[in-house]
């Protein structure tokens, strides 16, 4: 098997065709406890990271928003209030279990009036060209098999002047934080995963996939390569997470 035929799945190299299926297994396994685990793992700080994503989106009434890898619908719920009944939010996720949890949750909260649920692959988005005012992908890009293809696909469906926001784990900006974060990711996270979801492997994959994900500058370069302009990023919590923003010219 040549090097081009394989791709990273955490620290493992797997055939390209298998990554999607392996990621799907991880998310099928954790879907029901996904929100609890997010709160536990981040101490609730993930809500602040998402809050900043909303602030940077510039979304107003009547806008059309695509929330890729939207999972359990945190961002979608917030966007739904902002765009109002004249606007639309599409919650897209490749994983049926995550989409199911997200849909149930949003319907239960009564916020599904202006929301559409679409099972879609970020690399081949099933939407017309120049369709959305804003696209977000929060903690999803690192699981995508071909990230460059996904960024080009997002560029295609975004309206000129529209924004892409990529919220993703990144590289801590100081050595001391990096070493604490390593200990936390490889020792505490799998233990928590075992305790709450009875699945340590999925959280081992989470820690490994974060380390394999492009750092801040590399991801910014990938976005420029996909023809996004005004690409900038904001480090949050010492660079553990970064929010990248690009505009379609």
């Amino acid at each position: 098997m040549s090097e081009q035929d394989t791709i990273d799945f955490g620290y493992q190299q797997v055939p390209v065709a298998e990554k999607q299926e392996k990621v799907a297994e991880v998310f099928h396994s954790v879907a029901q406890k996904y929100d609890i685990m997010n709160d536990l793992m981040s101490g609730g700080v993930h809500r602040l990271w998402k809050r900043f994503t909303i602030e940077l989106s510039g979304v107003r009434k009547g806008h059309r928003v695509l929330d890729i890898a939207g999972g359990t619908g945190d961002l979608t719920a917030m966007f739904s209030k902002l765009v109002g009944t004249q606007g639309q939010v599409v919650l897209a996720d490749i994983n049926a279990s995550m989409l199911q949890v997200g849909r149930d949750r949003l319907i239960d909260r009564g916020t599904a009036d202006n929301i559409e649920f679409v099972q879609a692959n970020a690399e081949t988005l099933p939407f017309p060209d120049n369709h959305f005012d804003c696209i977000t992908i929060a903690f999803g890009l690192r699981n995508v098999t071909d990230k460059n293809k996904a960024l080009r696909s997002m560029h295609r469906v975004l309206k000129p002047g529209g924004r892409l926001l990529v919220l993703e784990f990144s590289k801590p900006q100081t050595e001391w934080l990096s070493s604490i974060y390593d200990q936390y990711s490889f020792k505490v996270l799998p233990f928590m995963g075992k305790l709450v979801t009875n699945d340590a492997e999925s959280y081992q994959y989470l820690a490994e996939s974060i380390r394999m994900h492009p750092d801040q500058e590399t991801l910014a370069g990938m976005m420029r390569d996909a023809e996004f302009e005004a690409v900038r990023y904001h480090n949050m919590t010492g660079g553990i997470v970064a929010l990248h923003r690009g505009v379609k010219p």
Partner: protein
């Protein structure tokens, strides 16, 4: 870390404000009428900026906003505190160095909403600790508040009397106003006199 802390602070304030507003349905109805409006608030001393967004019947505090806003207001922190405290907000806006731009009608509307703010604290306390204890606590707080105001007024009056009558160090406000009016009148008459003298000097210079 600073960004995350700022976001946490804003989230906490926003939650507290919206929880309080939950006990004032009339204000929430009024806020719903200015849905999707954004106001930029710039504090010059100390330098801080934030944005207030009205979303549905709720208030959102934003730490970052890169797009256009509907109105903006800037000034020193002490001006904003005065604006929040004083009942005559127009007086504060005129007397301070606050700058307002954009949709001023929106700010006027907000001013009127703020003036009519009437949060039912008793209901809020009752929701946490129960109806009867809630009523007792709210009554005690109301009584405490009135008592504190009464004591503060009494202390203020006593001190003023002491400084004015006992130590003769201060004049009362009527005396101050009378003296100010006398000084203004004297200044006005001195100005007229000076103008007359100048006119006479010019006339004398022209005839000589």
């Amino acid at each position: 870390m600073i960004l995350t802390s700022r976001l946490a602070l804003f989230a906490a304030i926003e939650t507290a404000v919206n929880k309080a507003l939950a006990y004032d349905p009339a204000t929430r109805q009024q806020l719903a009428l200015i849905d999707d409006q954004i106001i930029a608030v710039r504090i010059t001393q100390p330098s801080q900026q934030l944005w207030v967004r009205f979303s549905g019947d709720q208030v959102r505090l934003l730490s970052h906003w890169e797009d256009s806003v509907d109105a903006s207001i800037s000034g020193r922190l002490k001006d904003f505190i005065a604006l929040a405290k004083e009942t005559d907000k127009n007086q504060v806006l005129m007397s301070s160095r606050m700058e307002i731009s954009g949709n001023t009608q929106l700010l006027t509307r907000l001013q009127s909403i703020a003036a009519q703010l009437d949060i039912d604290w008793e209901a809020g306390i009752a929701d946490v600790i129960g109806d009867v204890p809630g009523h007792w606590v709210a009554s005690a707080l109301k009584f405490g508040n009135l008592f504190a105001k009464d004591v503060a007024q009494s202390v203020d009056r006593s001190w003023r009397n002491y400084w004015q009558f006992e130590s003769d160090s201060l004049i009362n406000s009527q005396q101050y106003q009378q003296t100010s009016a006398d000084i203004a009148k004297a200044r006005f008459e001195a100005d007229r006199l000076e103008a007359k003298v100048q006119r006479l000097q010019k006339r004398m210079a022209a005839t000589s």
